[in-house]
């Protein structure tokens, strides 16, 4: 389950942040928001360390940065020094391709926003269209996530049946 998406600028300034509660953009309580902000900052520190360490990591998708309490933080870096962070709930199965697809979709939304000559460069993104693009990407991710988890669960049950000696037509 995706919990939050954040876009951060070249000087680590926040450009966009949205919490998602069960796939919908989240409510107004401050305290949970602060936790996510804190996680983003810590994630950025990890990213800095990685950058300093390994100059050869030439992929935009940085993958899983770090697990934090019960969440996972994924990062994506662009050539224009923008960072996209996604905060996911730690689940048994996380399909990285889906996270990558989400990151790419957010990147495309960013490009679209920047290519608009009326958008203000270097300022937080307030475009409703951008927010809608991100919401759509998140919805797509959550759908795949649910499917993935469900089908993985079926496979697991099937295997458990086989191992226990039942043939795989038996329902548990």
């Amino acid at each position: 389950m995706l919990r939050a998406v954040s876009v951060i600028g070249p000087r680590n300034e926040p450009l966009f942040f949205r919490r998602f509660l069960n796939g919908e953009p989240g409510g107004a309580e401050d305290a949970p928001d602060l936790r996510y902000h804190f996680m983003c900052h810590s994630a950025l520190d990890v990213l800095e360390e990685r950058k300093r360490g390994n100059q050869k990591a030439l992929d935009m998708f940085q993958g899983l940065l770090c697990p934090m309490e019960e969440y996972l933080v994924y990062a994506y870096l662009t050539n224009t020094q923008l960072k996209v962070l996604a905060i996911l709930e730690d689940a048994e199965i996380t399909v990285e391709e889906s996270v990558l697809a989400l990151m790419r979709a957010v990147h495309t939304a960013i490009q679209r926003h920047v290519m608009n000559p009326f958008s203000r460069l270097g300022e937080p993104i307030t475009s409703p269209r951008f927010a809608a693009d991100v919401a759509r990407a998140v919805a797509t991710y959550n759908d795949h996530d649910a499917e993935g988890a469900a089908s993985a669960a079926y496979v697991a049950i099937g295997e458990a049946n086989l191992n226990a000696g039942y043939d795989d037509d038996t329902f548990l």
Binding site: P10, Q55, L58, D59, M60, L77, T78, N79, T80, Q81, H107, I110, Q111, V114, M115, P117, L121
Partner: protein, 171 residues
Amino acid sequence: MAGERAVAESVFELLMFEAFRVAREAPGGDGGEDGASAEARRMEVKGRIEAMGFDVGYRKVERSATEKLLGRHPLELIKFICKDLWLALFQKQADRLQTNHRGMFVLNDGNFTWLKRLGHRTDEKSVAMAEHILDFACGILRGALTNLGLSTAVYAEIKELPGVSFTVKVK
């Protein structure tokens, strides 16, 4: 490619020339007749056009630099400009890149697309137009490099129409 929209080159050129005209004729300062004010006015127009270019380059690179993560070294970023950005803007790659490995780069284009309409004319209007075109192009390069993380000064020289040489100094 499906979904990609295209505009006729001539339409783009007309728009660009019109943008220059607006930059020239927009009200600003007190344009007197003596040399000093005329020079100040010229610099103002130049600044406006370069600023337009900066905005275009800054935004364009966001869209262009999306294939793979480029290294942080200036040389790699400039190579990207010479190949991918040049292709996107001028439908060809730059012809030659020279560097002194100390922050100075010279990008040569022997057949600069945007100058081809001017032929080999040397009348005042054509010279002024060429200058506008180059100021705009320098702005684009500076904007693109800025968004890629490099602070630079860019200027251009006509080598032999329609050849141009762009010098980039990394700050």
